[in-house]
């Protein structure tokens, strides 16, 4: 599985490495397979869920698991942004990064944990709303970074991370929606 983004130094090597691991050649359609097939990013979905131990085996725990993956990636991204801010030399880029941090913080600190808790109680509508909002924040952040025009090496990996979080949100929303419908 090829990771197409030009990765330089994201600390969340774990996910990156996962994407390089060869998958067990399973042809049986287990639940993870079935669910991931319904998402817009099958490989990403598989890569996020497959390695988990114990393996989530029912729809609810799959939804929870994927939301946790979103959370940990977004938390990592926030940490990365904060380190970029500390080392930033360019005021325009720093402002854009600060804006990103400001919108990511409540999502990471409050909203996604709230969504995960809500899903535990069966409140999937709330969870989809929160994840949709998280995705919107990555879009906003990306817009700010793009218009700050920074072309130094830091914006490329950040763009890659934002893209990853965005796609994970898509996957998560899709998983939860299929739960709401198909359950």
């Amino acid at each position: 599985m090829k990771n197409s983004s030009a990765v330089t130094s994201p600390p969340s090597l774990s996910l990156f490495l996962l994407l390089l691991l060869p998958f067990p050649a399973q042809s049986s359609d287990d639940l993870i397979d079935t669910i991931c097939k319904g998402t817009p990013f099958f490989d990403l979905c598989e890569a996020s869920l497959r390695p988990l131990s114990p393996s989530p085996s029912d729809p609810k725990s799959i939804a929870s698991a994927i939301a946790n993956v979103v959370l940990s990636n977004m938390t990592d991204t926030l940490g990365y942004i904060q380190s970029l801010i500390r080392h930033s030399q360019d005021p325009a880029a720093e402002r854009a990064l600060a804006q990103c941090a400001e919108v990511y913080r409540p999502v990471v600190r409050f909203n996604i944990p709230q969504a995960i808790e809500a899903m535990r109680r069966g409140e999937f509508g709330f969870a989809t709303y929160v994840l949709g909002d998280a995705e919107k924040q990555t879009d906003s952040c990306q817009k700010w970074i793009n218009s700050a025009g920074a072309d130094d090496e830091s914006s490329v990996p950040l763009t890659a991370r934002n893209k990853l979080v965005k796609n994970l949100c898509d996957v998560a929303i899709s998983v939860i929606k299929s739960l709401m419908n198909g359950r």
Binding site: P106, V107, F110, N111, Q114, G122, E123, G125, D133, S140
Partner: protein, 654 residues
């Protein structure tokens, strides 16, 4: 591009530019359309007469408006709260009153706003208990679940990540106790030291007595704070001796005293003096009333929705309500029951005596020439400290200016203003500055930039396509040569006594104004609302600027209120004239000089709707050529929808 010719004459009875496109009259430089002048004058005379009659009556609280539906208005008055239905000046100014317009669904449904907060249907009024908690902004509001007029008041509830897109939640509080049986009225939230929330609100008891009650979230772990518990020992405050049973409402957010107690204030009146009563508490359950008042101002009537908060003298950021110190001034704000106007004043709070004195007593709280957050349709406003972004945010109830019958027909009434940040104007030190929260920019879609020179007496179309959801930011310059001419010419009279409200609106031409935008205008300008600057040459050749909104031609319909609003706007040396306008269907919010003077208005065009809505730039000055540099964004609609009870796993209570 600006055309040098005015538009073609329109077929309707009002050609907005007919008075200005003219052969100059040698003597007077200003021509007042006689008919309109007389009508306005007689209208105001009649109002003055009526008000005098009412006030000398005593008895029920004075009001200076007349409502055709007397049964409904009496209900609010009897219930002991200010008149909630609309001011109907039209009844008194004969010339302007006409038949009710034949409102139909097409015209009415256009009026609904795209990005202002409003419930799906029915009546709303005061903002309540706004706060930020665990990643969500919460907004509560006075709501009638049953009708598009005031009554059966409960607390509606909605949450948002960004103050722009909202999820409607189940009702937070309903009148299910004897102490709020006749209304769960306005209140405010306070965060305790441990981060928990207490809510104080006014209940109208089963005997219509106004009391204060305590409530708190049933489950602090629920980020959406869906369910609220009322304290079993309610009410915690009843009207003290000397205070009328219907003159005791709208408790504020509490602030800390230096000896660690919490302090709140509640507006009231003694005879005709508006007052603000002070209580101290440690637990929000028992209170000590101070013998002295926070403040009082004679002849201002009942003070509703009092707000009290610190502002930084030097920094453009918000302060927690408990902050005090040498770098801080305090604002006292109250909603005047008699005039339906929100007033504020800047002053100094003395902690030890729990009193406040204004910096400028001649424009004390509630004085008619004093400061207002907004010079248009704007009431019952309330601020809160947003600890998430370190801002103080202002919410405001924007009622309708149309008839109650139309509200019932369209099924809803009232919106909230776009939340505004509030700071002290560090440049003048004498007024607040408000600005729509930055998050609103997320609704901006494509934009177009313009740079236009507009000769005197010109109206120029601005080609932006559909023009009922816009954000406009503009900078205006008066041509220097023209300014010099005006100053050098002794025959140009000083514009004495200009006032937006009484000087006749945007068709009355002066040497240096009016100029600005015509929004929600149709092609032929038979309907338009003008937002403009009017610059006068004052004594000793100093320029004085006014910022106004003229709604008098906003609609052909005559059963709506169509005032000219506005006020003086401070323009400092070296500053250019700037304005921002948010157009959102039947609401227009205008900000002059970065928010030094703000004007909210409600308009109800009958023709200038849907695709027919256009934008124009106009310059009605006699002597000055204006250059306008501006940007116009189309605004997306906000995502405001109900959150179904199923999503939340709670039984629906609507």
């Amino acid at each position: 591009m600006a055309s040098s010719e005015s538009l073609l004459p329109v077929s309707s009875q009002q050609d907005p530019l007919s008075d200005s496109r003219c052969d100059s009259i040698p003597e007077s430089r200003r021509r007042r359309p006689i008919k309109v002048h007389l009508a306005i004058y007689s209208g105001f005379l009649l109002i003055a007469l009526y008000v005098t009659l009412i006030i000398t009556h005593g008895g029920s609280a004075p009001k200076n408006d007349v409502n055709e539906d007397t049964t409904v208005e009496s209900r609010a008055r009897l219930a002991g709260v200010s008149e909630k239905s609309n001011v109907h000046i039209s009844k008194l100014s004969n010339d302007l009153r006409g038949e009710a317009f034949a409102w139909n669904n097409t015209v009415l449904s256009w009026q609904r706003t795209a990005f202002h907060f409003q419930p799906e249907k029915n009546w709303m009024n005061d903002p309540n208990g706004p706060l930020y908690y665990k990643g969500w902004y919460h907004f509560f509001y006075q709501y009638n679940p049953n009708a598009a007029v005031w009554g059966d008041i409960v607390w509606g509830h909605a949450v948002s990540k960004d103050l722009i897109n909202w999820l409607h939640l189940p009702l937070a509080m309903v009148p299910d106790q004897w102490y709020d049986a006749n209304g769960v009225w306005t209140g405010s939230a306070t965060f305790l030291d441990d981060g928990s929330i207490v809510m104080l609100y006014t209940g109208s008891t089963d005997k219509f007595v106004q009391v204060q009650n305590l409530a708190y979230p049933e489950d602090p772990e629920d980020p959406l704070l869906v369910k609220w518990t009322k304290f079993s020992g309610n009410p915690v405050l009843v009207p003290p001796p000397g205070i009328g049973a219907k003159d005791f409402r709208d408790p504020t957010t509490a602030w800390k005293t230096s000896d660690g107690k919490w302090r709140i204030t509640i507006g009231s009146k003694i005879n005709r003096t508006g007052i603000s009563i002070i209580y101290d508490t440690t637990d929000f359950k028992t209170y000590e009333k101070h013998d002295t008042l926070l403040h009082q101002v004679p002849n201002t009537g009942m003070w509703e929705c009092v707000d009290f908060y610190p502002v930084s003298k030097t920094k453009n950021k918000g302060l927690d309500t408990s902050v005090n110190g040498p770098d801080v001034k305090h604002i006292v704000k109250a909603s005047m029951d008699d005039t339906r106007i929100d007033h504020y004043a800047i002053g100094t709070y003395d902690e030890s005596s729990a009193t406040w004195v204004p910096d400028n007593p001649s424009i004390d709280v509630g004085i008619s020439t004093g400061l207002r957050y907004d010079y248009g349709k704007f009431y019952a406003s309330k601020t809160f400290y947003d600890q998430h972004k370190g801002r103080r945010i202002l919410w405001s109830w924007i009622g309708e200016s149309d008839s109650e019958a139309a509200d019932v027909q369209k099924g809803w009434s009232s919106v909230q203003g776009i939340p505004r940040t509030v700071v002290l104007d560090t440049k003048t030190g004498k007024n607040l500055v408000q600005w729509p929260v930055k998050e609103i920019e997320s609704l901006r879609l494509r934009s177009k930039k313009f740079h236009m020179k507009v000769e005197p007496g010109t109206v120029a179309p601005v080609d932006v396509g559909p023009a009922d959801q816009l954000d406009i930011e503009a900078v205006f310059k008066i041509k220097k040569d023209d300014l010099d001419v005006v100053f050098g010419d002794d025959s140009v009279e000083d514009d004495k006594e200009f006032s937006c409200e009484t000087s006749g609106g945007a068709t009355v031409r002066g040497a240096l104004g009016p100029f600005g935008f015509s929004v929600l205008a149709d092609e032929s300008l038979s309907e338009q609302t003008q937002v403009y600057f009017y610059v006068t040459k004052g004594k000793d050749s100093k320029l004085k600027s006014f910022f106004c909104t003229d709604t008098s031609r906003s609609t052909m319909a005559n059963d709506v209120v169509k005032p000219v609003y506005g006020s003086f706007v401070p323009v400092l040396k070296g500053e250019k004239l700037t304005m921002r306008i948010l157009v959102d269907h039947s609401i227009i919010e205008a900000f002059g000089q970065g928010g030094r003077t703000c004007i909210t208005s409600r308009v109800y065009p009958t023709k200038s709707i849907y695709g027919a809505t256009k934008l124009f730039l106009f310059n009605n000055a006699i002597d000055a050529t204006i250059t306008a540099s501006f940007k116009v964004w189309h605004m997306n609609s906000a995502f405001i929808r109900p959150f179904s009870a199923d999503d939340l796993g709670v039984p629906s209570s609507t």
